[in-house]
């Protein structure tokens, strides 16, 4: 007597789950960089409210994680768009192609500047990337000029560069888990590190070895280069202050000697309390970051699967919203959230790329 009921229940469960598993998706699925996340979510929200389409779902997985998910294949179970705070790598393009993801539209949306600054009430610092490397790296080239490394001996900014004030080095920055920290290491520290010829040579040697087919040696040299240039000192002057940039700003106010590393949007919103140091002679401003002359800034991208346009409703409209003047334009709502816009020419170019759906 009960058997038919059990059977019915089983069939229903099966129908339900299989229905769910294979149902068409009617919302856009976005993954990727946590740096682009705050901008992408704003666009998604506005898009959802002002169009008949559902609000896209945005996951923050990191640039690398996002591209990995994105490149898994074509089909509704895979993401449509991935955000990245760096350009897609060759290896990732070929990984995508292997899984059938061949037509990818690249959209550059703007820049993100990383600022090193201090309280507005003290002297502004004028730094170079070399100063930053010498002050913050774990091991620095031997001051006697030989091609060897020593544990970082510098205690004050004056030790690093006689032109700088005689203040103890004290820098509040994000922990290693943070994307800002990676970008800072890559753009500021590595930028200064390369200036030492013999360290810069390591990279050239690695490339040469790679060409010669000696993969192991190339890798070894590259890792050595990276570990010299990217490792931050752990003996006190660099203080991990957590991922919360608001907290760093508050601490700078309390401690006038300290410098802090944070995103440009926090400088922009607290300009009455903090100031940004100039790096290689360039002040961090909207203009210097947007024309690329401020050295510690990185481009923000997102990548779109062309095969999904027309399959998942709303993708081309979402792209249009993202690349409209009211969003990524000079006075668009993304700049209010702290993104540095592209110049007008570049914006026009991107808008045409999107309109014509040009692929990589």
């Amino acid at each position: 007597m009960k058997k038919p009921m059990i059977l019915a229940a089983l069939t229903m469960t099966y129908a339900l789950t299989s229905g769910v598993a294979h149902a068409a998706r009617d919302y856009i699925n976005v993954v990727g960089s946590s740096t682009v996340y705050p901008f992408s979510t704003v666009v998604a929200e506005r898009f959802g409210k002002s169009t008949p389409f559902k609000t896209p779902k945005v996951e923050s997985t990191g640039s690398g994680g996002g591209l990995k998910l994105f490149c898994q294949g074509v089909g509704i179970q895979f993401p449509d768009i991935t955000n990245a705070s760096r350009r897609i790598k060759e290896s990732e393009v070929s990984m995508c192609a292997e899984n059938g993801v061949k037509d990818i539209i690249e959209v550059l949306i703007g820049f993100d500047g990383i600022v090193i600054g201090n309280a507005a009430s003290v002297d502004k610092m004028e730094l170079t990337r070399k100063d930053l490397f010498l002050a913050l790296a774990k091991e620095v080239p031997n001051p006697d000029g030989s091609n060897t490394l020593v544990a970082n001996p510098y205690k004050t900014w004056k030790d690093v560069n006689p032109a700088l004030p005689n203040r103890a080095i004290e820098v509040l920055g994000p922990p290693p888990t943070s994307g800002t920290r990676d970008a800072f290491a890559e753009l500021a520290l590595e930028g200064g590190c390369k200036k030492f010829d013999w360290i810069g040579d390591l990279k050239n040697q690695s490339k040469a070895a790679d060409k010669a087919g000696d993969k192991a040696k190339a890798k070894q040299l590259k890792n050595r280069y990276k570990s010299i240039c990217h490792t931050v000192r752990e003996d006190g002057p660099y203080i991990e202050a957590g991922e919360n940039d608001n907290l760093i700003v508050q601490k700078l106010n309390a401690n006038k000697n300290a410098l802090g590393i944070f995103g440009f949007s926090f400088l922009d919103q607290n300009i009455d309390q903090i100031q940004g140091a100039s790096i290689d002679g360039q002040d961090p401003t909207f203009d210097t970051i947007s024309d690329g002359s401020y050295p510690v800034s990185r481009p923000l991208y997102f990548y779109v699967k062309k095969a999904h346009i027309g399959v998942i409703p709303g993708i081309s409209e979402y792209l249009a919203e993202f690349t409209s003047e009211k969003a990524f334009g000079e006075e668009g709502y993304l700049t209010e959230k702290g993104m540095i816009p592209l110049n007008e020419e570049k914006r026009d170019e991107i808008a045409t790329t999107v309109a014509e759906q040009k692929t990589l």
């Binding site: 998604a44 008949p52 609000t55 996951e59 923050s60 509704i76 179970q77 940039d245 919103q269």
Partner: protein, 431 residues
């Protein structure tokens, strides 16, 4: 003689040590009380911190404006045309109302700052008003509109004393405008219904908890529907039917082991099986519920087995002796008697599942989702995930919302645990 002196000695010994024993007794009791007091103190500190930070999130600053539903400005000529109603520029008539309220503001930049007094989502509430009552078109009505989060933070930190206010993100002009609105009673703190009726948002004043609550609810329903029957069936078989041998011992060891496996592992398992193999979508409560069922199953099996074990064998013997089959014995006698214990264990397991974030991270439920989920197949987040996401946001107004969301989660947990106690009291039978 010798015996009595020994007796006396024994009593003396007892009497001599009596004081020390009483003291030890008192100390022992005091340790227990101290432990409870310490726990209570921690709880009180936690609650006061959360409540003092979060209570203000239940109020929201609103601005009173005389808004004209101008059909030209809205570009609506036919109120029955829903496409026109949807697409109209409601923010535009708010801007016009603001210009009217502060007529001496001129210049593009100043006007932009003026417009930022009101939330950029306020237009949607006007849209709702007009859709509900099309006769408003062309009329001027006084409405309370949600203020921007910067204004909200200013007003809340200000209290009655303008000196205390947090002005970090406000210009002097904005402060002057806000003060003028306050003098005329055109600015007030009203109950924040948005917080309970909308999904997530990047603008704190438009962010709400409902999406996360529904997500948690759907996930939990899937978990309950799956893990309770399976867990109880497994426990009944293992206790009542399974022979005692190496195989069942091995199963038992494994179940106990699984109960202690970190939850992130279940997330990885779910990612590989449900999303990788069965190709279900990411971020849906169905997958979340499946993963959390796997996680709570061991807890439920262990507590159910304990409850079944606690039913005295005499009851089984009596049932069997009167001619009941084994199934009848289990269904009519053992299960009803074991039910309170099984339910308590299960509800504690579900409460744990409700507070879980790590496995959800792996299956994509840590995401920005605005639309409120309508079923187990819609993308959703869960309450603890929402708390995590908000605590990471730069906007100050999210700090109080984070605490408020914690309060909602705590309310959920307290009601679930109360239910567990009530069920146990209600169903408990003594023999």
């Amino acid at each position: 003689m010798k015996e009595s002196s020994e007796n006396l000695n024994a009593i003396d010994l007892v009497n001599r040590s009596l004081k020390a024993r009483y003291r030890a007794e008192k100390r022992f009791k005091a340790y227990g009380i101290a432990a409870i007091l310490f726990g209570l103190a921690c709880l009180v500190i936690l609650f006061t911190d959360i409540i003092s930070k979060g209570h203000s999130a239940f109020l929201q600053t609103e601005v009173y404006l005389e808004v004209t539903f101008d059909s030209d400005r809205l570009d609506i000529d036919d109120v029955s045309n829903s496409a026109q109603l949807m697409a109209a520029d409601y923010q535009g008539i708010i801007k016009a109302a603001l210009r009217e309220r502060f007529p001496d503001v001129s210049g593009r930049r100043d006007k932009r700052t003026l417009y930022s007094l009101v939330s950029n989502g306020a237009g949607f509430s006007l849209r709702e008003m007009l859709i509900d009552d099309p006769s408003l078109l062309g009329k001027t009505v006084g409405v309370w509109l949600v203020a921007d989060d910067d204004i909200d933070t200013y007003v809340k930190s200000r209290g009655d004393n303008p000196e205390d206010a947090f002005t970090g993100r406000m210009s002097d002009k904005q402060i002057a405008w806000v003060e003028s609105l306050m003098e005329n009673d055109q600015l007030a703190l009203n109950f924040n219904t948005t917080f309970f009726t909308s999904g997530d948002s990047r603008e704190p004043e438009q962010a709400g908890i409902l999406g996360a609550v529904m997500g948690s609810l759907f996930t939990l329903i899937v978990t309950i529907v799956l893990s309770f029957p399976i867990g109880v069936a497994a426990a009944v078989y293992l206790e009542e039917y399974a022979p005692r041998n190496r195989l069942t011992d091995f199963i038992e060891v494994n179940i106990n082991n699984l109960a202690a496996v970190p939850s992130i592992i279940f997330g990885l398992l779910g990612l590989a099986i449900f999303i990788g193999f069965f190709e279900m979508h990411r971020s849906i409560p169905l997958v979340g519920g499946l993963v959390l069922s796997l996680m709570t199953l061991p807890t439920i099996i262990i507590s159910s087995r304990a409850a079944i074990k606690a039913v005295p064998p005499s009851i089984r013997d009596a049932a069997l002796g009167l001619g009941a089959s084994k199934m009848q014995m289990v269904l009519h006698h053992v299960l009803p008697l074991a039910m309170p214990g099984m339910l308590t264990g299960a509800i504690i397991g579900f409460a744990q599942a409700l507070g879980e974030t790590a496995p959800l991270l792996m299956i994509g439920m840590v995401a920005f989702i605005v639309d409120i989920p309508g079923g187990v197949a819609d993308p959703a987040t869960a309450l603890p995930v929402q708390i995590f996401l908000w605590s990471d946001s730069p906007e100050r107004a999210f700090v109080e919302r984070t605490s408020a969301a914690i309060m909602v989660l705590l309310a959920f947990l307290i009601s679930m645990n109360t239910l567990a106690i009530w069920l146990r009291k209600r169903l408990e039978r003594r023999w």
